[in-house]
């Protein structure tokens, strides 16, 4: 299982954050801290592209929930794009598909 790689691009008013690898116990804090800095710096509309994210645990989910709450508090939003089937199942199992807007590129 590879480490978490994070890359960025802009799309209209959104910052698209592409995650690749694993959002696991050793990477969740780094994810949370990096993106929190960006949100507090003014990037309040995030899209997390999970097409290349192979694994997520509850700490990774917790980081995303924290960022979602922070974006909302600052008047922005956080959406999820293209999760792989196993990762999408984790969102569904935890009912977080009710909290996050989850879509595919085709939608």
């Amino acid at each position: 299982m590879s480490n978490l790689e994070i890359s960025y691009s802009e799309c209209q008013r959104n910052l698209v954050v592409k995650l690749a690898g694993a959002a696991d116990m050793s990477q969740a804090n780094m994810l949370r801290n990096q993106l929190e800095t960006l949100v507090l710096g003014g990037k309040r509309n995030l899209i997390l592209d999970l097409e290349d994210l192979e694994f997520i645990c509850s700490l990774g989910l917790g980081a995303m929930i924290h960022l979602h709450t922070l974006c909302r508090k600052l008047g922005g939003n956080l959406g999820i794009l293209n999760p792989q089937p196993q990762v999408r199942k984790v969102f569904k199992t935890t009912c977080l598909d009710q909290l996050f807007l989850i879509g595919n590129n085709q939608e």
């Binding site: 116990m25 694994f55 989910l61 980081a63 009912c95």
Partner: protein, 137 residues
């Protein structure tokens, strides 16, 4: 390793050592031909159990140990993970899927293990979790 014996590992309460244990057990399940779905479930549950032991059980105190016993067999993978904490009552952990808990950033580990494993049980003190993953096919 004899087929029915448990392998024993002891680690300090730091995530890099926990990841090594996780990788080791997952690798054995992969060698036994478990499906991708089973491997994901096993990795996720190990991740949750080890995180709970390190963070909540041992309070991330590197002086405190986490003890792991496991055996990987063609029909099932069985794991015990014990910490040095006071234990807890898992029945008191609120359901994280409740509407009023959805925005809480923590508290999903036990429900994920319960959803992805075939057996999840704690000892009476609540400082050791027992996990079993049966082969899906």
């Amino acid at each position: 390793m004899p087929r029915n014996s448990f392998e024993k590992i002891e680690i300090v309460s730091v995530f890099p050592q926990a990841k090594q244990v996780e990788d080791l057990i997952v690798e054995q399940a992969e060698k036994l031909g478990y499906s991708e779905e089973d491997i994901f479930a096993l990795r996720l549950s190990l991740e949750e159990a080890l995180t709970n032991a390190i963070r909540h059980g041992n309070g991330q105190d590197p002086q405190k140990k986490v003890k792991i016993r496991y055996r990987a067999r063609p029909e099932e993978v069985e794991i015990y993970i014990a910490d040095e904490g006071n234990g807890f009552d898992p029945s008191l952990v609120p359901d994280p899927t409740r509407e009023d808990k959805l925005e809480c950033p923590s508290g999903r580990g036990i429900m994920l293990m319960r959803a992805y494993m075939d057996l999840l049980e704690y000892n009476a003190r609540g400082n050791e979790v027992h996990l079993v993953k049966q082969r899906l096919s």
